[in-house]
């Protein structure tokens, strides 16, 4: 059967998913973007991965429009005037969202709801009604869990309404992050977020103090947990699979001095040519209204250098066969992790990035959350492999060692039993401790939830079951959740519970 016909006859795809799949097919059939033969070889042997960005990129991967401009000035191209009440605010945003491109064709950043809605929250009942429709509209039309909104850091009535609605509605979309700063975010609000997170797997907590300290400027959390400049974004996110790269090395020294630099540079050059293509060849930065009206500026974009498989790479180079005795449980492996990341960080920083003047002309490291074809050989970013997670305390402390490198995002997911539902205080203590020790991003959920976080995005377990039964799921991402469950045991994280007492 032809690939087109496969898509047309697939009963698990909705109409919209078919359109996107067909478009992607066409995009991937083209070869406008020249690739180095060595890069093509690396794709084949799976040391590097282009994360499905194809060879004809026609938009930056992630775009974070500055929606405050929409609120203040409206949008000429869309014929929108500044909103005067909560209904117009919701309507303007919903219209604009449908015109924000991305790799998924859905907007990966919806703005900071706390700030965007604050001026329009006049009557609690009316705000709640408007936001309820707003959230429902998003879940049913922006059908992709990489659609991501931010709240915080300060408490407000809008936030509390959003948390209430999130718990009440139990929707996988949008992804939600609290920008958490213990100086600005009061404990009551933070605890309400913990409570909501355990019940619905969102919001996650972003270490606002750390992100601001990195000098990234005015940033938002988009897609899974990508920290990027508002009014900018990320052009591209190809990845290095560290485990596969390690298998090409004779030994540790060969890896650090020859093999790793070789593949890193190959990837950096690919990022250069991809970014050049997006900026110089595609029409986005020339004619898209987001650029023309200043919602985004080209210099605020950068390239994201994706990393997976640090744990397995360290174990491999040290000849550790049993992951339960390796990275996460083994100081030598963790020290090697730091040496590798120091090296990789310097390689990326030394490379002069293209078209990213607002980001010091540098690309940024990103601990990518993995895709189902990574299987069990490359855990996401710098995470400890699922199945060998140590005690919660050690788990956090080991991973904290690597968070400093990944300025455009890293995080892990912790699964809790229901005793934690009654003790948001205790979980907030842990989050505060983790952030004080250098963790960038923390997310958790209750083991019994329907909405669960797979590797960074949210899906409903009940929707995965639909796919298992060959029925369609409205959310484009459910299929990734099914894959990650099947190949990477991503729904079988250790549950932190009373049984850890045994």
């Amino acid at each position: 059967m032809s690939r087109v016909k496969d898509i047309i006859s697939d009963s698990t795809l909705t109409y919209h998913q078919q359109v996107l799949a067909l478009a992607r097919l066409a995009e991937n059939d083209d070869d406008s973007l020249p690739l180095e033969p060595e890069f093509e070889q690396a794709l084949k042997e799976e040391t590097l991965c282009d994360l499905g960005e194809g060879r004809a990129p026609y938009r930056p991967r992630y775009i974070l429009p500055d929606y405050r401009i929409l609120m203040e000035k409206g949008c000429e191209f869309l014929g929108l005037t500044p909103a005067t009440d909560i209904w117009e605010a919701c309507n303007n945003l919903l219209i604009m969202y449908k015109h924000v491109p991305s790799i998924t064709s859905f907007p990966v950043y919806l703005g900071n709801f706390t700030d965007l809605f604050a001026p329009f929250d006049k009557d609690e009942k009316e705000t709640k009604k408007a936001l309820k429709m707003f959230l429902l509209h998003i879940d049913k039309t922006l059908t992709d869990s990489f659609v991501h909104a931010n709240i915080g850091p300060k408490d407000s009535r809008v936030n509390r309404i959003l948390l209430d609605l999130t718990k009440e509605m139990q929707l996988a979309i949008p992804n939600l992050t609290l920008l958490y700063d213990p100086e600005q975010t009061n404990d009551e609000f933070a605890k309400a977020c913990v409570d909501c997170m355990l019940a619905t797997s969102k919001p996650s907590f972003a270490n606002d103090v750390m992100y601001r300290g990195d000098g990234i400027g005015n940033y938002g959390i988009a897609s899974c947990y990508n920290a990027l400049k508002i009014g900018g974004g990320g052009y591209t996110l190809p990845r290095i699979r560290l485990y596969n790269v390690a298998t090409k090395a004779k030994d540790k020294d060969d890896f650090l001095h020859n093999v790793l630099p070789h593949y890193a540079q190959l990837l950096l050059r690919n990022m250069d040519s991809r970014i050049r293509y997006i900026v110089e060849e595609s029409n986005f930065f020339k004619s898209n209204f987001l650029v023309r009206e200043g919602f985004v500026k080209r210099e605020n974009f950068t390239g994201m250098f994706g990393v997976v498989g640090l744990a397995e790479c360290c174990n491999y180079l040290l000849g550790i066969k049993d992951p339960a005795k390796g990275y996460g449980h083994n100081e030598e492996a963790e020290k090697l992790g730091n040496i590798i990341m120091d090296k990789l960080e310097s390689l990326v920083k030394e490379h002069r990035g293209l078209y990213c003047e607002g980001c010091n002309n540098q690309y940024v490291l990103h601990a990518q959350v993995g895709i189902d074809s990574d299987g069990r050989e490359n855990s996401p970013g710098a995470r400890i492999p699922i199945g060998v997670e140590p005690d919660l305390c050690d788990h956090i402390q080991v991973e904290c060692k690597y968070h400093k490198y990944f300025v455009s995002g890293i995080g892990d997911i912790f699964r809790f039993d229901d005793t934690w539902n009654n003790t948001p205080d205790a979980l907030l203590d842990i989050i505060k401790g983790a952030f004080a020790q250098g963790m960038r991003y923390f997310t958790g959920y209750n083991a019994d939830n329907d909405v669960v976080r797979v590797t960074g995005y949210l899906v409903k377990k009940s929707e995965i079951e639909k796919l298992d039964h060959h029925e369609a799921s409205l959310n484009n991402v459910t299929v990734f959740g099914q894959g990650a469950r099947n190949t990477a045991n991503a729904l079988d994280r250790r549950i932190y519970d009373e049984s850890s007492r045994k």
Partner: protein
């Protein structure tokens, strides 16, 4: 304390739980000391009740050869232990060979590693007040880390006799297992006279963090008596945890006396109502 005493001082530690969300407010490091003057029928960790007598029975049964007798003392090799708990099941004396004798400094080091994540520590057991002199030194050090110190106790020891420790500690979580003296004796093998005195004393000095009572199946009258007494005493001055009896981990003689059924949520409601009526709005069912 003389330095040599301090140097020699070690306490039997059954377990340290680095992060606990169920041993007092916030995230806490919980330290469980070995040995207890009570031997409650429903104890969930009966292996913490007594000290090992070095009889050596467990040594023979250990499938991992993690136990051996050296100079008449049972030694545990933690690195080869598979935590199958065969030793605990074999022990006829409600003891465990799997304990560490730790110094204050060693425990503090465990706490220090995790300090950023913790609101405080909780000492429990067994009965941690069996180690009261050790606790005093431990608390002095833990306070230097800026953490709070809670005592989880069955109330066997009269807290009024430990003014320095009471001064340092941030609160006591007290078990009141039964108010009726004869029933308490039957249940725990000890008098409750000091327990009830402690309830009054801790209220008076504002160090009562919470009170706990296990609600039993088949003993409605005793349950009611205890819940009434405690809730009237504490009113709304402290949290009152009503714990459902669960059969898990309970030894045979306990199951014979108390039954094999777990107490349901519905069964608990009337007791919560009693608390409410007596002015305790902080009662929680666990």
């Amino acid at each position: 304390m003389h330095w040599i005493v301090e140097f020699m001082m070690r306490a039997p530690v059954n377990k340290i739980i680095p992060f606990s969300n169920v041993d007092g407010p916030g995230n806490r490091c919980a330290i469980f000391f070995q040995s207890c003057p009570f031997s409650c029928l429903y104890c969930h960790n009966p292996e913490t009740i007594r000290m090992c007598r070095n009889c050596g029975k467990c040594v023979e049964k250990c499938p991992a050869e993690a136990l051996k007798i050296e100079e008449g003392i049972v030694r545990w090799n933690e690195s080869v232990c598979v935590n199958c708990d065969t030793c605990i099941k074999e022990c006829e004396y409600l003891a465990s060979p799997k304990i560490h004798f730790m110094s204050v400094e060693e425990i503090v080091e465990e706490i220090r590693k995790r300090k950023a994540f913790l609101r405080g520590i909780t000492v429990s057991g067994g009965e941690c007040m069996n180690q009261s002199a050790f606790l005093l030194e431990l608390f002095k050090e833990v306070k230097k880390l800026g953490l709070t110190c809670l005592i989880d106790s069955n109330g066997y020891y009269d807290f009024e006799n430990y003014p320095e420790l009471m001064e340092l500690c941030d609160g006591v979580m007290l078990d009141v297992k039964a108010v009726d003296p004869a029933f308490h004796q039957e249940l725990c093998g000890c008098s409750n006279e000091i327990v009830l005195k402690n309830l009054d004393y801790l209220l008076k000095i504002h160090k009562l963090e919470e009170v706990r009572t296990v609600i039993l199946p088949h003993f409605d009258e005793q349950n009611e008596k205890t819940v009434c007494y405690v809730s009237k005493k504490i009113k709304n001055q402290s949290r009152y945890k009503l714990i459902r009896y669960r059969k898990y981990g309970v030894r045979k003689e306990g199951l014979r006396k108390l039954g094999e059924e777990n107490v349901s949520q519905e069964y608990m409601e009337p007791y919560k109502q009693i608390c409410f009526k007596n002015g305790n709005k902080q009662s929680v069912i666990i």
